[in-house]
Symmetry: C2
Subunit: 68 residues, 2 copies
């Protein structure tokens, strides 16, 4: 599995642990839902700023989000 | 300090701990030296793939590199 897929799985796991839908995460993080879907499917090479935005939104450290 | 600056500082710290120059890290990671300079100065919004490449090259986990 490549790093994009591993990150996507990690993101989906943390999102589901909060009981959030992709729509909810998109709304809270101000990142487009369609883009988030691509990230979770491992199809996006997400940037540092968006990684940090998602970590903050999910209430985890960037290091925890990147623990895959 | 924004996340790009914080990441840049973290990268430079880990690189110097290995006693490497930016040239050495560029060579080993196959990432352009000029780009790395911009990342360390906090001027680049680096991508997931390059973050993971740098972590692997420095011999740390992605989570450790993103611990800032």
């Amino acid at each position: 599995m490549d790093v994009q897929q591993r990150f996507g799985e990690r993101l989906a796991t943390l999102r589901k642990e909060k009981g959030w839908s992709q729509e909810k995460l998109a709304l809270e993080s101000e990142i487009a839902r369609s883009y988030l879907g691509g990230v979770e499917r491992g199809q996006r090479n997400i940037s540092l700023i968006n990684i940090c935005k998602l970590a903050k939104t999910l209430g985890v450290t960037t290091s925890e989000l990147m623990d895959f």
